[in-house]
Symmetry: D2
Subunit: 289 residues, 4 copies
């Protein structure tokens, strides 16, 4: 779990082979790092090794700005092919929120930030409708209205990408944003656009999932948060949750009960992303909890 | 809830109109019946009224063998178009169990019956494989092996239907029976064949749902019990349940965790059916809990 | 479920005897009411009959301001001893919110109201600390700071009761209000003060339940919403929910995960209360869902 | 997850200090072991380091009968104070089952063993009542009836301990065994007697928890599996689960719904114990899932 002091967080992703844990933990030990959290996973299906290790930087022998360089030297010396990334727990990420007309996920996110539950910066909110501007204003966050039509979509996405770049945004949250992003947009933020879909995917992808659920007569509804890929509602799942329903629940009641799932599941996914706990592995995620 | 004494259980299903509850409860009151349980539901989508009422027969003015006749007279006098059925809590249903090679659902069912948890008669178990015969034998239940191939399917189904008829079977439970019943078979037992499918339908219908779930990377697996219709895994859902999983769960672990869901969900559905608590309403069920 | 049009909601609570459902539904039928929802419950332990019936007032023969009088005449004519209450779905309740320093439940409640999810009026927020005043201000709700010490408690409670009376408050929600109300205060709002406690009661009553839970090593944490009675954390439970935890969860993580339970469970309890779906029956509640 | 081939499973438990993971994984690497599973946990409250590592023995440089000796040499050379244990995945544990009159947990356990779901040996079942002897017989397991009264308790426990010793029993499962074991008995099997209690402990310890739950009016019931200690229902919790209930559930229905929780939760705890995934840490457990 993230400590208030500064921890280094190293994530690794490579083909599995013997000794990887020993190599990495010995590097940390040799430099006097105290591991506060270590988790590894071998995905037998695709032969991938995934690891997340977090250590206290307080007495670490390498200055934080040199850790990446020295770790890369180690990796090169071992002739490893390795994807890795290094983060520090005291560097908050910068998150853009995209919304349309529904406020429940936005309120949930903003209230967590204001109460100090999350350490994240939100330089901007983007919307294709003006409706939620007053909420953004009350929380003191710049609100950009960029309406989308078939004709303006390319132009507005380009403008949005500029805004994200200008604001040094690390990742994007679609908080019930009712537009489909173009593949070109998604490619700019791979595994960095988080969506919430209001069904337990892969059941009921696409539009009106509560209507679909009611019609099918399921006894459980759900919500799914996932990274956005070019395939609609098909990206790697980060978090899911469900709620029991009965025949007494009309579509309106499903929508009402579903809202609570949506905001909770989306916030769980954001929390995991903020703490560098999610690693994408093909079409699946490893979420170190 | 079912009392140890004899209760009458009346289920009604008709187009909604004013006064239905008053008509029915007044009939019971006028004949000195004490209602121990009443539940009604109006399905707004299809305009159907569904009701289940259970009363103690002890002091009821009409002898039990005459209740149906007198209720029909009342219905006719009111010019109602009404589907209704009358059951008595002290008349156990007769259930056939169909199995293949997996024993967990069968053991779960038989242990509930032996311990007295359920009041049901099981005159026979049917299987397309001999493997589970020794279990049937230990519980003293006749076991019929009827192997199915493309060539023998029609003949074996005919033989099976004969067995069900000879044994006065009320309903059939497919306890991980790995054959698809023909539409002709299903028509003989409408809303009376209960299946367990090892996914949260409508996700992952058909074969190898745990493999599908693993490949898709879901964070939740499920099981669904439903009445069998001509559409594969498409019948009205009676019960569903789910379990959280993580990236650490291989397909083998999904199978293991799923077994517990399968047996529990199937048994919940059977319990509801045994207690006349399920009413099919189009593609959905009303389950009075 | 509550319709957008005006429905009458009658709740009844009395000793069980034959024919109660027939008497009440016949009254509604005779006056041309269309029942949209009916649920009854017989509590076998205390021999109580509890019923909730909701009907569309559109074509009802009795004007709404006369319904109570005429129903009382009926009750008297039958010599029934009956507790009953009549509400109308288009008359929103007036709710006071009491808070201290934690904002998550308050934000959750206010965001539901602002988005139109709930139809309720909040004339005031009361707090023993000034911290959350800026939130109240942003939502345009009067905020009263009434600090409590041992010396001032009686006086401040008296002042609070005056505020509630002046504002025609129907019920009070303690949204993580960290003061214990005196028995005298509670008596003024019997079954009308809703609290959220951050454990699955009756486990871990009193202070620091997450610390207690961590120390005991439970694998599940919970939250409980209940009506406040003179017994600390002992009142009738309206709603509970739980979340799985592991050894990896420190107390801080329990607090974090628990917040989501607290706000969700409290809001479920408020929703049920707002829709006149909760009936207290001794130390238990009947919640018509 | 345990592979069908032989894996070594090393569990370690000691005061936390820098470099423990590196020391242990380097030992495995140096001897050509391929780690298939590694999990560690630092309990910040008590400063304990807990680790479980599982590696494939196929190409391991140390013969399996020498691994313990060589690991101890390593530990001594590092001057570590360390509790550790070594198990092999192909050596099934030997489990005694204690029962009284209720069969649901026993059936659940035996059906898992018969179907091959678990790899465990059950040399004997002990009961203080003869009722379940016929079940033991059908599964071919010796059944010992040892009735207990205040006078005979000491003698019968002594006889039971002899039976356990004669049968080389590794651990004991109390499958709804309705006797309290003496502290002397428990001391002989520390952290090796697993009980199932029919409530979400610490709520409703002791007798008749479903009656207690009904009386208190909870909306959720639970079951808890824990290691038995001298404190009644106070030992370290291995697994818990819960089910939602409503006012419609009488005590009889709680008992019925609770049975499913009991057998599932107990079996989950046994599975974790069988796979050497549980480590007791003071009053809590670390369950590596």
């Amino acid at each position: 779990m993230p400590a208030p002091t500064s921890n280094a967080i190293l994530r690794i992703h490579c083909a599995d082979r013997k000794g990887l844990v020993a190599v990495i933990t010995s590097f940390i030990l040799a430099n006097n790092g105290n591991i506060v959290n270590l988790a590894e996973h071998v995905d037998c299906d695709c032969g991938m090794f995934v690891m997340r290790v977090e250590w206290d930087c307080a007495d670490f022998a390498i200055p934080r700005e040199k850790i990446a360089e020295q770790f890369q030297t180690l990796v090169a010396s071992k002739q490893e092919q390795m994807h890795w990334s290094l983060e520090f727990s005291d560097r908050p990420l910068r998150m853009a929120i995209f919304v349309s007309k529904l406020s429940h996920c936005l309120f949930d996110i903003l209230s967590r930030i204001e109460s100090g539950e999350w350490d994240v910066e939100v330089p901007l909110i983007v919307s294709n409708h003006p409706d939620l501007g007053s909420i953004a204003e009350r929380f003191g966050i710049p609100f950009h209205v960029l309406p989308i039509s078939a004709e303006t979509k390319a132009e507005q996405e380009a403008r949005t990408l500029e805004l994200l770049a200008e604001n040094d945004v690390d990742f994007v949250v679609l908080a019930r944003y009712m537009q489909i992003l173009s593949p070109a947009f998604i490619e700019r933020y791979p595994d960095r656009v988080i969506n919430i879909h209001h069904s337990f995917l892969p059941a009921f992808p696409g539009g009106r999932p509560y209507h679909q659920a009611h019609e099918r007569g399921v006894k459980i509804i759900g919500a799914t948060s996932h990274y956005v890929t070019a395939e609609l509602d098909g990206g790697p799942i980060i978090a899911q949750d469900v709620a029991a329903i009965t025949h007494r629940d009309s579509v309106e009641q499903l929508v009402r009960k579903g809202r609570d799932l949506e905001k909770t599941v989306l916030s769980r996914a954001i929390w995991a992303h903020l703490h560098h706990r999610v690693e994408v592995c093909g079409q699946r995620t490893v979420v170190f909890d």
